[in-house]
Subunit: 133 residues, 2 copies
DNA sequence: TAGATTATTAGAATCATTCTAAACTAGAAA
DNA sequence: TTTCTAGTTTAGAATGATTCTAATAATCTA
């Protein structure tokens, strides 16, 4: 059994052709930032029959199972990240591309007081990039 | 001439009824996070005739002129902020509400290396809030 | 006040994402 | 294996925020 099937089995997701293809991609690319549009383009190229709805269904499911991390960059679109560790991103609008910022590349010497009755949830840091002119 | 008209004149924007109403709102609320949907609701309540398209046109124009700051929270929607200083936000998904984090409430002791050929653009920090359980 | 310019508007268009409900498939049980 | 059932996939419709279009209206300048 290949790794993709193994992973899917562990998450109680049936290893359909489409799902295996998606997970294979994730394994192959290892660390990658995925967009539904980018992924369907890649799979169509590989002659794998899959619909956009299935791409979304599966990326969302994989995120629910903790195999991917789902997040947003500006208003643009939904991204999925295979890097599950706490980390942040540079965004290069020119290439529509994200670059990881590992947690150890940023540290805070002062953090803001959380409002009463609330606790900190996920933290989103995006540093937008511009070309040096 | 009222403040709203003054501001619009400085930005070379004609002080139409709709624009004056929007800028009045901004002045009155002083520091506020605006959404097109919230704003149209408020203005309709005040019996001001305005269409959604006009709201968007004007919020975008005011952002272009530097009177508002435009940004996004998750994928949800476009927000406009009257606080023009560098600052960040808490987001309370339950109330669909933003809370400012002033720049002096956060400080970095370590910042990531900017990729070659690029420079830092805007920095987006959103700390999502959850209820204390 | 006229003419030119700029604004507003309703409704259509767009785009990413989700929903729907019908057709299909994998896996369990016999 | 066949059969059954729950889980999947799919095309296309629906959604929701935002932008576009092009017709109408308001403001400004001379």
């Amino acid at each position: 059994m290949n790794d993709a099937k193994e992973i899917l089995k562990k998450s109680k997701l049936r290893p359909t052709i489409q799902r295996v293809a998606i997970v294979d991609y994730i394994i192959e690319k290892h660390k990658v930032h995925i967009t539904a549009a980018k992924l369907i383009k890649y799979l169509k190229n590989k002659k794998i029959n899959i619909s956009l709805a299935t791409i979304y269904n599966n990326l969302n499911e994989l995120a629910d199972k903790g195999i991917l991390k789902k997040f947003y960059v500006n208003n643009d679109k939904m991204w999925f990240d295979t890097n599950l560790q706490d980390h942040y991103h540079f965004y290069d609008p020119e290439k529509d591309e994200l670059i990881d910022i590992n947690k150890n590349e940023i540290s805070f010497s002062k953090s803001p007081k959380i409002p009463n009755g609330k606790v900190k949830g996920s933290i989103n840091i995006i540093i937008n990039l511009k070309n040096k002119n």
